[in-house]
């Protein structure tokens, strides 16, 4: 976001390729607009707008009766708990997998210039690297809501499958991000530590992790912000939290209660965003 000034010179002059890309996007947009069968005219002035307006009007005023507030509060706490434990589980999954994808700890780079592993040893380590990458890809590709369905199927309804779902999907995302951080670690301090006779585990502790940790924390907090939003919808498939109550409220046409629950989501999400920003400023 910085360096806006430096980019002044980089503002692309209208080139053919640029115009072609833009034209392609316009075509894509028109095609998509037709495909989704939306009538923006109807939205702006007509029937759809009236429908949305009518529905929104039914939401007000929010239901602030004690039982609804209690339900919203309990749901918010549960959502928070799912996001918190889920994010932590994700870190626990991501950390070892990210280390297993760090080739400079396994078989190449400054720590192996003196004695590159050969033969079967190298094959095993390349295998560890490739295997960990593949696991991370699978974890990441499957969306959290699909994981949630799977875990509901496995361990039953409730917040626990939500925790597992967030942990698995986010574990894959964080594993990839952590791996990128590890690739960017400055190798020179590692060489210096190796020259004291330190083993690779101790080089990891004194050289790699101190460099990588601030970024790890920043990414984990960032994913926590994503996860509080995701946790709020886990309940749609039966995995606990505010989502489950929202599902009921919508199905049973309890619109005013729905608004209270949405407000609860707003509060808990804003709270976690602020908490995460505060921790980031203190820790990173």
């Amino acid at each position: 976001m910085t360096g806006g000034g430096a980019r002044v010179a980089a503002v692309p002059r209208p080139r053919t390729a640029g115009w072609l890309t833009a034209a392609a996007f316009v075509v894509l947009l028109v095609w998509s607009y037709r495909g989704t069968q939306i009538d923006l005219g109807a939205l702006v002035g007509g029937e759809a707008m009236r429908q949305i307006g009518g529905y929104l009007a039914k939401l007000f005023p929010p239901d602030l009766s004690a039982p609804t507030l209690r339900a919203a509060g309990v749901g918010a706490v549960e959502t928070f708990a799912i996001s918190f434990v889920g994010s932590l589980l994700a870190v626990l999954i991501a950390f070892p997998l990210a280390l297993a994808t760090d080739r400079s700890l396994l078989y190449r780079g400054v720590l192996y210039e003196g004695r590159p592993p050969a033969g079967a040893r190298r094959a095993v380590r390349v295998g560890v690297y490739a295997g960990a990458k593949a696991v991370l890809n699978v974890l990441r590709t499957i969306p959290e809501i699909v994981w949630a369905l799977l875990f509901v199927f496995m361990v039953g309804l409730g917040p626990f499958p939500g925790v597992l779902a967030l942990g698995f999907h986010t574990g894959g995302v964080l594993g990839k991000l952590f791996g990128e951080v590890l690739e960017d670690v400055d190798p020179r301090p590692l060489e210096a530590l190796q020259s004291t006779g330190a083993s690779r585990l101790r080089i990891l502790l004194y050289g790699v992790l101190p460099q990588a940790m601030p970024q790890f924390v920043a990414y984990a907090l960032y994913r926590w912000e994503v996860n509080i939003r995701a946790a709020a919808i886990m309940g749609l498939v039966g995995a606990g939290g505010l989502g489950q109550r929202i599902h009921f409220a919508i199905s049973l046409f309890l619109e005013r209660e729905l608004l209270t629950l949405i407000l609860a989501i707003y509060v808990i999400v804003t709270l976690v965003d602020a908490l995460s920003a505060y921790l980031r400023s203190k820790l990173v």
């Binding site: 400054v110 210039e113 003196g114 004695r115 400055d186 020179r188 301090p189 060489e191 210096a192 530590l193 190796q194 020259s195 004291t196 006779g197 330190a198 083993s199 585990l201 101790r202 080089i203 502790l205 004194y206 050289g207 101190p210 460099q211 940790m213 601030p214």
Partner: protein, 273 residues
């Protein structure tokens, strides 16, 4: 201590060392000079066992390094302390941890881990920092120190490591000249006190000739001369640096004060000792 026999080291794009032969005895103080690209840094990385020669033999304490097991290699490394040009410390760690990292070859992993939480052997680290003149920086964040202070931290780490050999690869090329003199004399005095072998790769010919009883000139991956400073003539130096504009300019400045019968060079700085 060290014996290199016709050591070659080739990289994919170039040959860095081309049949280099050199012997260093225990307790010696040796300066290595030569134009940039001569292979000095490669030589130092072979000496500290980070690189393996492509051909030729390296004997450390009479044992061929090529035949050592991984564990023996690590044990050998604990006896060799290295000081780098710059930025080989972990900036985000506090100074105390960077200094105590000198212990990593001896400490168990558990001890290394607990020390990161609550530093062990703090007294040794404090003593080492006092020796290098920055006792008050023990708990500072390393990246908050100046370049010269960071170099002192690197020296303190080597003191904690307490090796038999200290290798310093251009330790003063990124600090100002008066600080360079201070740091090189600090290295020399600390090594002399504890009878350590000292090899320093220097960009500054002046420092090499003034502080070291033995100076090795390297060019194109080979030893060009290996002499006492008194025996090194301007002609030898010119030949060593021929074609390297920067270093030739340095020599031109140096020649004004050259005195073949006294000290090799007029000291550029008054050391007061």
């Amino acid at each position: 201590m060290y014996r290199l026999e016709r050591v070659r080291k080739t990289f994919p794009d170039a040959a860095a060392l081309d049949g280099l032969t050199l012997t260093v005895h225990r307790g010696e103080h040796v300066a290595v000079i030569g134009p940039s690209g001569a292979g000095k840094t490669t030589l130092f990385r072979i000496l500290n066992l980070a690189l393996r020669p492509t051909a030729g033999r390296l004997l450390f304490e009479g044992r061929d390094v090529g035949g050592l097991s991984d564990a023996a290699l690590r044990r050998a490394r604990t006896r060799i302390g290295t000081i780098y040009q710059q930025q080989h410390l972990v900036g985000r760690l506090r100074v105390v941890h960077n200094v105590l990292a000198g212990n990593l070859g001896r400490w168990s992993t558990l001890r290394a881990l607990t020390s990161l939480i609550s530093p062990r052997d703090v007294d040794a680290a404090a003593a080492a920092l006092a020796q290098v003149g920055i006792p008050d920086k023990l708990h500072a964040r390393t990246d908050e120190l100046s370049g010269g202070q960071q170099q002192r931290v690197a020296i303190a780490r080597v003191l904690v490591q307490d090796p038999d050999v200290i290798l310093a690869d251009e330790p003063v090329s990124s600090v100002d000249p008066s600080l360079a003199v201070t740091l090189v004399s600090l290295l020399r005095d600390l090594s002399a006190e504890s009878r350590k072998t000292l090899l320093v790769n220097l960009h500054s010919v002046d420092l090499a000739l003034n502080f070291f009883p033995r100076v090795v000139g390297i060019r194109d991956g080979r030893v060009r001369f290996d002499l006492r400073p008194q025996a090194i003539t301007p002609a030898l130096l010119e030949e060593l640096y021929a074609g390297h504009a920067d270093e030739e300019r340095q020599l031109a400045q140096l020649k004004d004060g050259y005195d073949p019968f006294g000290r090799a060079c007029r000291p550029l700085f008054d050391l007061g000792a």
